[in-house]
Each structure stands twice: as structure tokens, then as C-alpha cells.
Amino acid sequence: MKRAVPAVIATLIGLGALATFKSSPGVSTRSSSALRIKGGVAAAGPPRRTKDTVPAGHGTGAAATTPTTHAGAVRTIDGVPVDNPYGTVQVRVTLHGTQITDVTPLQMPVDRQYSAELSQQAAPLLLQEALQAQSAQINLLSGASYTSESYAQSLQSALDKAGH
């Protein structure tokens, strides 16, 4: 019984320390597994390449660069909402001709703090991936595989609608 009091105190201190520990979503593009969209039509854009080689005639990944040639007008198409266990993802793609210039998330999982933080971290990284790939064949983000998958599927559906 004598050891009970110090044990209880130690436990309370331990629990207090535990309560101050904060985790945060670790979303990154570390993953090397390329995504495969089931049943989707492969976009007409180039296959995924590393950042060093940039095929001629296409802009780099940065959204700010204006493509040198584009045929056709600017179009914005909304993809379908795609559900995953954490929520719904829906994206809107902006096409200059056949060039993807922007992808805007219309819906991202945000109903819990974890999802909100994760979506915030993931969205710009996914945009970067999409612009580099110029298709929905993007790499899964490490730490956000569900979100990446749903993002890609929604993007693919928008590209399909555009006949891209």
C-alpha cells in the first residue's frame, strides 16, 4: 500500500506529459508507388517522368508558367465527388486546351481536425503532382493515400468529361 501513492503520482505525471504530446499529419511526396486508376482512361498527357526531364512543348510543373501553345479555350470542369472512409473529395480542373493549369479542391475531408490538417497539407502537394503528370496518374502521397486516391479519381472523371 505504501508504494501505491508514489505509483499514482507517477502515473498522473505521465498522463499529464502524454496529454501535451501533439501529432501532426506527415504528408509528403516520398512515396514511390505510382497510382493506377482502375478502369479510368489514361489521360492524353505524357507518362510520368522525373522532374529533371521536361519534354519539349510543355510547360514545367509550376502553375504560374503560361504554356507557349494552346489550342482551344480555357475550360473548367468539375469532377465527380469521390467518397473514402474519411470523407468526400471533389476537384475542379482548369484546362487551357489540353493543358492542365490548375486543380482546385471543391470538397476535401474536413469534418475532424485530423482530416482538416491533412487535407490542408495534401492539397498543394497533389496539385503539384497533377501539374507535373498532366494527367490523373499521380503518385500517392505518403500519409494521405485515401485522399490521393480519391483526388486522382475525381480528377480523372473531370478529364474524361473534357475528352482529355
Partner: protein, 433 residues
């Protein structure tokens, strides 16, 4: 009835997993492991809640199953629960690790640093492992009961710690309000029961009846009878043969509750229990002082006179098992035919000598004290089959009430069956919680 409710609850819980895709979610590298990890999470946590419920002292559970059997189930369920939860941790870690092509250790670090409330969950899991490890027989033999019990209480802390991650990252709850509602309801039922039956009810009973130690009388070496006085004890509705869990409120005793049977019929202002020195707590009780407040939880037990099916009865007591049987003696009347066989290690160990002699003086009541330390086999023992057959020739026509230590009980149950006593006439109380 209890079993049906249990089955339905398990079905609903597993149904959550199936509803969210079940095994069809098992796609991609690590998919199968992750899906299994999710199933073991649901079933394992359900098992934890059942574990808590088994010990919540709900009166209907007690009447249906009995505290002693509930304790046995709790023990076995405990190990199953730990396997399920270990499976959940292992499969989920393996599944995610395979999916992201990292090592198990890297994945664990990923879980703890990037996912909310997972460090807490790990700490809770380790606590549950500690609870399990200290409850293994080898550990129980080496640990003091107090130490074991103290560690065991950390199970409550573990349940609290692991709850947050279930909703924060559990994919069965993230997008399914109905699932969350179901889960919270399960927790509420369990913790509500614990709060009511283990905390509020005993407190209310104490406020109303104000039980205190009145006197302590030495019955035999190492055996004392403790008289408890209080108000309106008849309103509690205790029957002879039943027991309570008693909590003696002193600085060292307040946090333990131990079972003792009433050793005499309860009266309006008096309960009596008789305690033999068999361990730390019962040794301490030998010297309990008058005036100490007592919290009683109960009454429990189905070892009561209303179980009788006929006029004749045979009571068989092994050692301190005499206590509820002595209380039962108070319920018999002149029209009943009672034989009491009281087995003790040595004749000095027999208690209630004067009281038993008085009972033996009444007609139709025969009492035999049988001293003998060795428990022989069914043929040679003092209470073996041949002797029982000779001393109680109409044994198959009697209600048999048996109480004593586990080995004694098992032996007597077997012999009564051999002598042709029908099962519904055999009533027993296991003296071991």
C-alpha cells in the same frame, strides 16, 4: 437471454466492418492485413467492454450466472481480449507498412508522430498487456494480491486512453454517424453499469443502513465471527445462504471488497459473518475493531432455501464452508428432515459448537462432525461414496447443499452424482472468487 443480447451486439459490431467493405477493402499491398486489423479492433474493443461488464456486478447478471462463474469467464475472456488487441496492433501496423513500403518500426514511428491520439493508444495497450501479464497464474502466485489488484485497475486508465484514437483515426467511425452512436452507447451502457452497481448502489445502501462492526467473537483458532449492526437491514432482502462483498472502511481496507457469506439468518438490525484466516485480508479481519464502517455490496448468491424441491435436505460443509450452511439451518422447520455433515481437518477446527448442539437437539435434525485431514478418493474418503450411502440411505431423495473449497466441492459433486442424486437436487456454492 443474456446470451442472445450478447450475440446481437457482436453481430452489429462485426456488421460495421462488413458494412464498410469488410474483406473487399483488402486491396493493394497490405490491404488484407489492414482489413484484419480493423476487424480485430472492433471485436477486441467489444471484448474489453464485455470484460468490464462481467465485473460490473449488475444484479440481473448475478442472478442469471453467479458472481463466481462471472469471475471465471472474466479470466478467460481477458486472455482472448489481449490476443485480439495484439492482433489489431500487429495487423494494422503490418498492413500500413506494406502499403507504404516501410519497415514495421518506421511505420510505428509514423503512427505515433503523425496520427492523432495514437501515442495514447499505445500507452493504453501496454497497460493492458501489463494487466494481462500480471494475471497469469505464475504471476498471481508471486505477487501480493494488493499489488495485482492495483495494477489491474490500470485497465480503466487503458480504456480511457485508447478511446480517443478509435474515433480520431478509426475508419469504421470516420464517416458513419450511426456507427459512432452505436459505439458510444456501448461505452455508456458499460460505464453506466459500473457507476451504478459498483459505486452508487453501495453508497446508497450504506447511507440508508449505516452498517458498522459491532463485535468480534473468536470461534476457533484463526476463525472469528463479526457482528455487524445497522438500520432496517430487513429491507435489503438478504436471504440465508447468500453473501455480500464487504468493504471495511479503514485506511488500509477501504479499497478492497471481499466476499463472505452471512453465517446466520439476517435480522432487522444484525448481520453476522464468520471469517477464517486464509490470507492477508482475512488475517487482518481477525483483529478488526468495533465501530468500523462497512460498505456492503449485494446480496449475491443463489445458494438459498427457495431452491429446495422437497422436504428432506442434506447439508455438506467442508471447513469454512459451514458458514452459509449454518445460516441455512435457520430456515428449516419441524416438518423438515435435515442431515448436516460437517467435515473439518481436526475436531478443534469445528466452529459454532454450541449453536450446532442446540440444533442437533431438535427432532428431525441430525448433525455429524467428521474430522479428517486427508481427502481420500471416492471409495476411501471419510465422506466417500460407501459412507454416504450408509449414513444417508435416502440420499437420492434429498436436496443436497454443498459448500467448501474447490477440490472438496468437485469431489462431493461427483460422489452425489454417483449415488444417483438428480442434478436439480444438487446445490452448491463455490468458495473462491
Amino acid at each position: 437471454m443474456v446470451a442472445w443480447v450478447g450475440f446481437v451486439a457482436v453481430a452489429v459490431t462485426v456488421g460495421l466492418w462488413i458494412r464498410h467493405g469488410g474483406i473487399s477493402r483488402a486491396t493493394g499491398p497490405g490491404g488484407v492485413a489492414t482489413a484484419v486489423g480493423q476487424l480485430t479492433a472492433l471485436v477486441g474493443t467489444f471484448a474489453v467492454l464485455v470484460q468490464l461488464l462481467l465485473m460490473s456486478r449488475i444484479v440481473w447478471l448475478e442472478r442469471a450466472i453467479g458472481l463466481d462463474r462471472l469471475a471465471v469467464w472474466h479470466r478467460w475472456m481477458g486472455f482472448a481480449t489481449l490476443w485480439l488487441l495484439a492482433g489489431h496492433v500487429a495487423f494494422t501496423t503490418v498492413g500500413y507498412a506494406q502499403g507504404q513500403h516501410v519497415s514495421l518500426w518506421a511505420q510505428t514511428r509514423d503512427f505515433v508522430s503523425h496520427y492523432p491520439d495514437l501515442l495514447m493508444a499505445w500507452v493504453g495497450f501496454v497497460m493492458l498487456i501489463a494487466v494481462g501479464v500480471t494475471s497469469v497464474q505464475v504471476a498471481r502466485r508471486t505477487l501480493q494480491r494488493q499489488t495485482w489488484y492495483f495494477i489491474h485497475l490500470y485497465a480503466y486508465v487503458a480504456v480511457a486512453l485508447t478511446f480517443a484514437h478509435q474515433f480520431a483515426v478509426g475508419t469504421d467511425f470516420s464517416n458513419d454517424r450511426a456507427a459512432r452512436v452505436w459505439w458510444v452507447c456501448l461505452y455508456l451502457v458499460v460505464f453506466g453499469s459500473i457507476l451504478w452497481w459498483r459505486v452508487i448502489k453501495p453508497w446508497r445502501m450504506n447511507l440508508r443502513h449505516d452498517l458498522r462492526v459491532h463485535s468480534v467473537k473468536r470461534e476457533a483458532p484463526g476463525v472469528v465471527s463479526i457482528q455487524l449492526r445497522g438500520r432496517d437491514l430487513d429491507r435489503i432482502g438478504a436471504q440465508p445462504g447468500q453473501f455480500f462483498l464487504w468493504r471495511f472502511i479503514t485506511p488500509t481496507g477501504w479499497w478492497q471488497a471481499h466476499p463472505f457469506s452471512l453465517s446466520a439468518a439476517p435480522r432487522r438490525h444484525r448481520f453476522r459473518i464468520t471469517v477464517k484466516n486464509l490470507g492477508d485480508h482475512s488475517a487482518w479481519l481477525q483483529r478488526i475493531r468495533p465501530g468500523v464502517r462497512v460498505l456492503a455490496e449485494g446480496p449475491y448468491g443463489t445458494f438459498t432455501a427457495d431452491r429446495r424441491t422437497r422436504r428432506r435436505a442434506l447439508l455438506i460443509a467442508g471447513g469454512i464452508g459451514i458458514t452459509p450452511l449454518r445460516a441455512l439451518l435457520d430456515t428449516f422447520g419441524p416438518e423438515d428432515d435435515v442431515v448436516l455433515l460437517y467435515r473439518v481437518a481436526a475436531s478443534d477446527d469445528a466452529v459454532f459448537g454450541d449453536e450446532l448442539r442446540k440444533f442437533a437437539g431438535t427432532p428431525n435434525m441430525r448433525i455429524q462432525v467428521m474430522p479428517g485431514n486427508e481427502i481420500g478418493d471416492d471409495d476411501t474418503d471419510l465422506l466417500g461414496v460407501p459412507i454416504l450411502r450408509r449414513d444417508v440411505p435416502d440420499i437420492a431423495d434429498r436436496d443436497c447443499f454443498v459448500c467448501g473449497p474447490p477440490a472438496f466441492l468437485e469431489a462431493l459433486k461427483r460422489r452425489l452424482a454417483l449415488l444417483g442424486v438428480p442434478r436439480q437436487q444438487i446445490h452448491y456454492e463455490r468458495f473462491e472468487l
